[in-house]
């Protein structure tokens, strides 16, 4: 990771680094499938009309044009562009394939997305996202908001990333509170609250008073709400103590309490009610999730999401959804930079089958076939150099075992690390379990 990407914002990994990324993706896949999520992939491109529907030009979309074609019209809504997330394509996929899907439809999707942003630490122009969503037809029970938090807590716990905190808030809670306070523009309040970390309480209070039209008292109440953080349902009493009443606030409190109640039992310490979260509350309609790596808070959220009352719609049909998206590349780049985990070796091979002489290639292939038939990855030397040279080659690649066939047809296998050399039979020899597959620790 000391290496610089040859194209800024487009990271590429060395084989041993890619093994770490494969481990992360495999682990996510395994966890998502254990929770019943089916995989899909969507095409990398959408029409520009589809991508810019919500005016999200700020995502810095990459347009596509065939170099062989004539000059293009940038405003053509049917022209193609690369997707900047997996939610917009998923919403389109659901509408297009609704007749073939069983709802509630739960899927995971792990693909690259592209954003023409200015690259900086933790921000890339090409990066992999791993998304899970459940989408309903017409309606979607709230219990999925709880389940998705638990699924993600399960998935992140299985990764070599240390401790994390899933922080949950609820749009209804915030909006109900602000309305109960008498503030008529909840989105303006949320935009101000979103600046808390940057400009502090006094700065936010000033904006609320001068720009949003709040009284000093209303501003202090909004800030008091944003100061509430609990790992259990204690936040409910703390909000109640602020004395604000509104029907939407009640609904929001109840919803968030369901998530935190279940999480405090099933994933204790991992999921927190955090009423300061304002990001995303402009487009999510209920639950909203963010996740920080403990000790790496500056990295920003590594997993965000929430509930959409209308993830997609077509005619009279409405598809509500709830989901989360893990920023895999952001995670990997931090894992590699801080050496939180590394691969045992850069190659899948467990065994390097040497050649005694130029005529022994077929014999060596027989050994390799016998090992592979039992799931043992190996490679055969390409030329009969001196054994010392062949061993050195295996060592340089991190292959733990070297196989020798003696002139009398017997076999020996040497553990390069310990130097131990034992007689072996390709039909039965098995490496220690921890060497069989490349491991990431």
């Amino acid at each position: 990771m000391a290496r610089k990407a040859s194209l800024s914002g487009f990271p590429e990994w060395l084989p041993a680094e890619r093994a770490v990324e494969q481990h992360v993706l495999d682990t996510l896949r395994r966890t998502f499938e254990l929770h019943g999520f089916a995989n899909i992939e969507t095409r990398a491109v959408e029409t520009r009309g589809q991508l810019l529907r919500k005016g999200e030009i700020d995502k810095e979309v990459y347009g596509l044009s065939r170099l062989a074609a004539d000059a293009e019209d940038k405003n053509d809504p049917n022209a193609l562009a690369l997707h900047f997330d997996l939610t917009v394509p998923f919403a389109r996929y659901v509408v297009e394939n609704a007749g073939h899907l069983a709802f509630p439809f739960r899927r995971y999707q792990m693909q690259k997305v592209w954003r023409g942003e200015r690259p900086q630490d933790g921000r890339f122009r090409e990066f992999t996202q791993a998304d899970i969503d459940v989408v309903g037809e017409g309606s979607l029970p709230f219990s999925y908001d709880v389940e998705l938090a638990l699924t993600i807590a399960d998935a992140l716990s299985a990764l070599p990333i240390g401790d994390f905190r899933l922080r949950v808030n609820n749009r209804k809670l915030a909006e109900g509170f602000y309305r109960g306070l008498g503030l008529a523009d909840p989105d303006a309040v949320l935009r101000a609250i979103d600046k808390l970390e940057k400009i502090g309480e006094d700065g936010v209070a000033k904006i609320l008073v001068t720009e949003v039209g709040a009284s000093e008292e209303q501003a202090r109440a909004a800030l008091a709400l944003a100061a509430i953080r609990t790992l259990d349902t204690g936040f409910v009493a703390q909000v109640r103590a602020l004395g604000v009443e509104h029907e939407l606030l009640d609904t929001g409190l109840d919803e968030l309490a369901q998530v935190i109640d279940a999480a405090s039992k099933r994933a204790p310490g991992k999921v927190m009610a955090d009423l300061s979260i304002a990001r995303g509350l402009d487009y999510y309609t209920g639950t909203v999730y963010e996740t920080v790596l403990v000790g790496h808070e500056s990295l920003g959220s590594i997993c965000s999401g929430g509930r959409y009352e209308s993830l997609a719609s077509k005619g009279k049909k409405n598809y509500p959804g709830v989901g989360l998206s893990i920023g895999v590349t952001r995670l990997i780049s931090r894992i590699l930079a801080e050496e939180l985990a590394s691969a045992a070796r850069a190659v899948p091979s467990v065994v390097y089958v040497t050649l005694a002489n130029a005529d022994s290639w077929h014999q060596a292939q027989d050994v390799a076939s016998a090992l592979r038939a039992r799931g043992i990855a190996c490679e055969v030397a390409s030329s009969a150099e001196k054994f010392g040279k062949q061993i050195k080659y295996a060592d340089r690649r991190g292959i733990p075992f070297v196989w020798f066939t003696q002139e009398d047809g017997t076999h020996e296998v040497k553990d390069i690390r310990s130097g131990e050399q034992l007689s072996a039979d390709a039909a039965s020899w098995t490496p220690p379990a921890e060497d069989l597959h490349n491991t990431v620790n």
Copy 2:
């Protein structure tokens, strides 16, 4: 597969179809890793200068431009474009990272590529390729040409695609033969031979005589060479019988004989010397591979490749390589269209855990956690509807087992297919091995 892609040339699969694709990719990965190939991924974009270096504008490259940016210059060599294959990016990656790689470096790479071609059967604008290559620093032993043929035969044999034939030719053999015949422009001869299937022997002979300057006799000899196809090394005698002599021909015959000799022993019937292959002989420098699915020859080659004396170079360093590329999307689209294989179910879940009443959600989650801890994928009902409705839901999604928790706290599990219902314990119950994972057959 009756469904039409919503964007022509950009196929998207339903979950059960994606499960087939996942199975194919998993199988390839497993085989490649058993043969010691390490995985890498390269970025989706290259600079246009890099992509168009060899003048391959015919690949219909997709250029990228930020929609938010000013008008672009199509001729700017530093502007970005999507890669049209995985070979050009791999060559760049090798040069950029040479100091961090152990040569001969063997890698596999499975990624999407893009070509703005006119979509038609078996041709897509976005598709997945699975490549294996071995690249050397300075030199690369010929035994890798043999090994790669065997690795690919192994990989394709593990796929649900029926019988296939890997057809191998050699540039040196063809060029040596033509030069020995007295034809000075081997590339022109190869371009004519490449038209054999389309215009037949007489058509090719006419081109050779009128356009390439061959005599009638030379043309007939070139056609006689192209008619040779053997599953063993019998092709050597057949070529010798044509009476042409040239040093390069000798080398080519020896190289091809090594591939076919090993393959006839280790993958009998799968690999064939086919001297009619002319495609690719203009850029490959020795061995060239193509692969057809038996009974689906019209699909074209599903796996092609060959030897490059110079896959990449930098300054005085030269990197020869040999590799093959499998057209995964082309394969999948045929597997799905002809129903050569299908997934047992559209979801990973083995068990659907029902809710007896609204209060039993946590109890159901306990069951689910116990099953998942032992690798059994499951999902929990989202609301306590009538059991009949819950069973129907599981059935519609193809989940084979439904789990019930009785009021007395005991558990039962029902196989929806047979109707058999037995008492069970979440800490020990295990589904039959064939149901544990979604299978593709």
